[in-house]
């Protein structure tokens, strides 16, 4: 099989990139390890979600094996999804731009490293990504970095519980604003308006942006993109010149096949991108492809998170919508981040137990059970905090030769710990959230356990110095001229913001660069506006 560009992975990065290239007439083949999840069977995913199960299980399970180490267990189950759409199948849809200071932590605060690109470099691509995904928002965030375009969709209205939080935040001097999200507040791009179905991790109507419902079919519709599902890439092979010659992949039959192309892009997520590079050893790259820096797999990051909840006297009517509508970025910006990590506050529209959880925990039956469910439901408010994690080379993705996947390849080993920097931010965030809940007059205020967002970040970081980074500012591997690595693995720092909008913006930018290099012009000759996406409301 041949293509001009071979892409590994049909998720947020790969799907956006495939569309941008296909719209320019570039022949693209996307190899996706998972299946194409049929939208007609979306109800099955919804039912799994409602049973508190993974909505998107895929077989064979041996393909998703991994091991963990470090002081904190970072589980991958439910935090990534295999299949066309990737993690956009189950993401929350929160589509925040990173702040301009997030790109220059070294310059602003003397910690970590600056990105090789600035917010201003990425800003037009953020605008394009918002249009492509259909982001609903309004410019009411006091700390927002400058933007060249308005949100393509109006913001979702604040919720009933938001109105309670807003009053407490105003009293405490804490900023409170809308949470931008890639979810249709109005019909957009052929997808319907959100109908408050409440199962956003398996949106039953396709109102939440998902690459499998938009970018991939749109790319295929150009006639220039082909997606091969259940095709797991096993390694990359080099030619004599030291460039990638082929992707070697296999289906469930384990028969190896090859995809040749001029340019190759890894878009399989921060864990699998790193693993694939580490699996692709050769004489020029004995420790893994594009790994002369030794940084492939290093500086793995996520977003540690905690919910702080409190009990209200009156019913606050949770679970009427599946997402949050308000947040505060104040503590992600207005802090001395040299010593105190940034964090976001997400004001939850649904906290506390659902009727089934109340029922199962009650130990009651019959009429007494029914009364308990009615009395207990709807009495909890909650605030979720997401904390920025700094890059640390000890946090890493490596190969575990003692555990093999379906194809016999070593499974990824996730080594993960939190530093005092993150733990300090978590403590600060818990205290701020607790103050807000106390101001609301809640009782039994307490944090839930530590958990982690499904964000895997930083295993093939970008930079200008090939000795200290894996890819350059255009996401091209320093060591391999025809190899690009996209997705959140290329982030230098994590910020406190969800990564998906930045992933999409960077993918659009990388597509522009790839198109320019393929067509023989400079990237700037292939203008953003010529190919990017300007769908209409409908």
């Amino acid at each position: 099989m041949e293509a001009e560009v071979g892409i590994v992975g049909a998720g947020a990065a790969g799907g956006v990139l495939a569309l941008e290239l296909a719209r320019r007439g570039i022949q693209v083949v996307v190899l996706e390890s998972g299946p194409r999840h049929d939208f007609a069977r979306r109800g099955e995913s919804v039912r799994r979600y409602l049973r508190h199960e993974n909505p998107w299980p895929t077989l064979p399970r041996e393909l998703d094996r991994y091991t963990v180490g470090g002081s904190v267990i970072y589980q991958l189950e439910g935090r990534r999804a295999r299949g066309v759409g990737g993690s956009t199948l189950h993401w929350e849809g929160y589509a925040l731009r990173m702040h301009e200071r997030d790109f220059r932590l070294r310059t602003s605060h003397g910690i970590a490293e600056d990105w090789p690109i600035t917010y201003q470099d990425l800003e037009p691509y953020y605008t394009a990504a918002e249009r492509m995904l259909g982001v609903a928002g309004t410019a009411d965030e006091p700390w927002a970095s400058p933007r060249s375009g308005s949100f393509p969709l109006p913001a979702f209205a604040f919720s009933h519980s938001d109105s309670l939080f807003a009053g407490a935040c105003q009293t405490l001097g804490i900023g409170f604003h809308h949470l931008p999200q890639a979810r249709n507040s109005l019909a957009y791009d052929g997808r319907p308006q959100c109908r408050a179905c409440g199962t956003c991790q398996a949106c039953p109507i396709g109102a939440r942006a998902s690459v499998d419902l938009a970018q991939i079919p749109q790319a295929e519709a150009t006639g220039h993109a082909r997606v091969v599902t259940e095709a797991t890439v096993l390694r990359l092979e080099l030619d004599l010149a030291g460039e990638v010659e082929a992707l070697v992949y296999a289906g469930l039959d384990k028969v190896e096949r090859r995809l040749t192309a001029r340019i190759f892009v890894l878009a399989g997520g921060a864990v699998e991108n790193a693993r694939l590079l580490l699996l692709s050893t050769s004489k020029p790259f004995p420790t893994g492809l594009a790994n002369r820096s030794g940084l492939v797999g290093k500086c793995f990051m996520s977003h540690p998170a905690v919910d702080v909840i409190g009990r209200a006297r009156d019913n606050v009517y949770p679970y009427r919508i599946g997402f949050s509508t308000a947040m505060s970025r104040q503590f992600a910006i207005e802090r001395d981040r040299a010593t105190r990590g940034a964090f976001l506050l997400e004001f939850l529209n649904s906290a506390g137990p659902t009727p089934d959880r109340i029922a199962m925990a009650s130990g009651l039956t019959g009429e007494a059970l029914r009364r308990r469910v009615k009395e207990e439901f709807g009495r909890w408010l909650g605030i979720r905090v997401y904390v920025e994690q700094l890059p640390d080379r000890a946090n890493s993705i490596s190969l575990n030769p003692n555990v093999r996947d379906y194809f016999g390849n070593p499974a990824p080993h996730v080594r993960y710990s939190l530093s005092p920097y993150e733990r300090g931010a978590l403590n600060d965030a818990r205290a701020v959230a607790g103050r807000i809940l106390k101001m609301l007059g809640l009782s039994d205020i307490r944090p839930t356990g530590l958990f982690f967002a499904g964000h895997q970040i930083g295993t093939h970081r970008m930079g200008t110095d090939p000795r200290a980074s894996v890819v350059d500012g255009d996401l091209r591997a320093h060591d391999v001229p025809n190899l690009y690595l996209v997705g959140s693995g290329c982030f230098v720092t994590a910020s406190a913001s969800p990564p998906t909008l930045t992933i999409a913006a960077l993918a659009i930018r990388a597509a522009e660069h790839i198109a320019g290099s393929l067509r023989g012009g400079t990237p700037s000759e292939t203008t953003l506006r010529s190919a990017s996406y300007f769908p209409a409301r409908n």
Partner: protein, 192 residues
């Protein structure tokens, strides 16, 4: 189900606290509920649950979740849950449900669903089958393995399945809820 002399005797013995399983087989018709061991291979056999098994399970769940017989609509929610679970390719839930129905019938000495609501409650109370928690060393009756499985697995599953359905949301006053789409503006205001 038609009452027979045998079912009436067994039902009476159950109400007064006698363990019918300790009786030798009484005469009368042969029923599958007497024929196979509980928790054996037959319980885990795959395939759809029979109408009789479903009736017994719904009758059991009615006591658990509402303390009374369920309405047709409530039955429907529960049957949806049972059917959904029973489709699990591992066969685990089908086996669990069969174990549950068989245990209930053995203890009742007849089809559990044929008992009146009061007699259902009396039987379940006597064998503590409405309690999911099992204390260490707690006597579990004549079929301890099955009783343990029913209490620790089936009871939470049936309660969770029912209160996770529209019936549970109706109990808290919600007509639309996670999984049932509705009005996008409803979340912005208190419920009427």
């Amino acid at each position: 189900m038609k009452s027979t002399r045998r079912t009436l005797i067994l039902g009476f013995l159950t109400i007064i606290g006698f363990d019918p399983s300790s009786l030798p087989r009484l005469g009368g018709r042969s029923e599958d509920i007497w024929a196979a061991p509980i928790g054996g291979a037959q319980d885990s056999a795959r395939g759809p649950l029979s109408d009789l098994e479903l009736e017994d399970l719904v009758a059991f769940a009615g006591v658990l979740v509402e303390g009374r017989a369920l309405s047709a609509e409530q039955r429907g929610f529960l049957l949806d849950h049972l059917a959904d679970r029973a489709r699990d390719p591992s066969g685990y839930y089908a086996g669990l449900y069969r174990t549950t129905a068989r245990l209930l019938n053995r203890l009742a000495g007849t089809r559990f669903s044929s008992l009146t609501p009061d007699r259902r409650l009396a039987l379940l109370s006597r064998y503590r089958l409405t309690s999911a928690a099992v204390a260490p060393g707690e006597p579990l009756g004549p079929y301890p393995d099955a009783a343990r499985e029913v209490r620790t697995r089936a009871v939470p599953d049936l309660i969770g399945g029912y209160y996770g359905s529209a019936a549970g949301w109706a109990a808290v006053g919600y007509a639309t809820f996670p999984g049932r789409c509705g009005d996008l503006t409803r979340y912005t205001r208190p419920e009427p």
